[in-house]
């Protein structure tokens, strides 16, 4: 089992953005993505496109069409892709106004399942998605129109 907390990514837009941080780690999953690609010789521009696209999404809404479905049909895992390249940032699109941002990497295989690294990121988000659904169903977590109430006060295990 992996223990983690949820951190808010403050922004001036209309979308509540969160990321997750595993126990014992200094950086959240989103920060790990940033650290890995912000100075990459090959992928810096693709990284910058993804980060700036996030700011557009923050201001316009996490609309379904801005993301590519990446998980299974019954989960909310999706990827923010750069169309011209293989860099992907994996997310849980809860609603048009609530987005949980995970880690990401370069998709060099036909599907994410063929990459051990990308599969790991997707599975973490799939498991968290299931957990959220269960907690919402049993009333321990509440999703409002603009946020997941008190999610940053809790510790989760997947």
């Amino acid at each position: 089992m992996k223990e983690f907390i949820v951190k808010n990514i403050e922004n001036e837009g209309v979308v509540a953005m969160y990321t997750i941080q595993f126990s014992g780690e200094n950086l959240s999953e989103f920060e790990k993505f940033v650290q890995r690609f912000k100075d990459s010789a090959e992928l810096k521009r693709d990284y910058q496109i993804i980060i700036y696209a996030l700011s557009k999404i923050a201001s316009q809404g996490a609309l379904e069409r801005y993301f590519r479905p990446e998980g299974k049909i019954n989960d909310r895992v999706c990827a923010l892709p750069v169309d011209s390249g293989g860099l992907r940032l994996y997310c849980l699109r809860i609603t048009d106004k609530i987005l949980i941002i995970g880690n990401g990497g370069v998709k060099t295989t036909r599907t994410y399942e063929e990459s051990e690294e990308l599969l790991g990121y997707v599975i973490d988000l799939q498991n968290f998605d299931s957990l959220i659904k269960n907690e919402v169903a049993n009333g321990t977590l509440t999703i409002s129109e603009t946020e997941i109430e008190n999610i940053t006060d809790k510790t989760f295990e997947i």
């Binding site: 808010n8 953005m17 496109i49 993804i50 700036y52 316009q60 590519r68 169309d83």
Partner: protein, 86 residues
Amino acid sequence: MSAKLNLQDFLNDIPSDVQKEVEWSFAIADKIEIVLQKKNISHKELAKKMGKTEAEVSRWVGGTHNFTLRTIAKISSAIGTDLIRV
């Protein structure tokens, strides 16, 4: 990095040409989607009309597509609305 995360902190180093590329890509994507909705044309219908796949239309309206002038001209013709003005 600080314990508190703010999206703005990650945007400070994004060059203006990248910002323009994404701004324009989102603007074109949003305009395609608005025209399609206004004219009640589905992605599937547009794809069929242009001899493309629905996946390709999804990429156009996704906000991070690197459009060529040729693609913009073809989409503009297909939907009957100029996507850009020079």
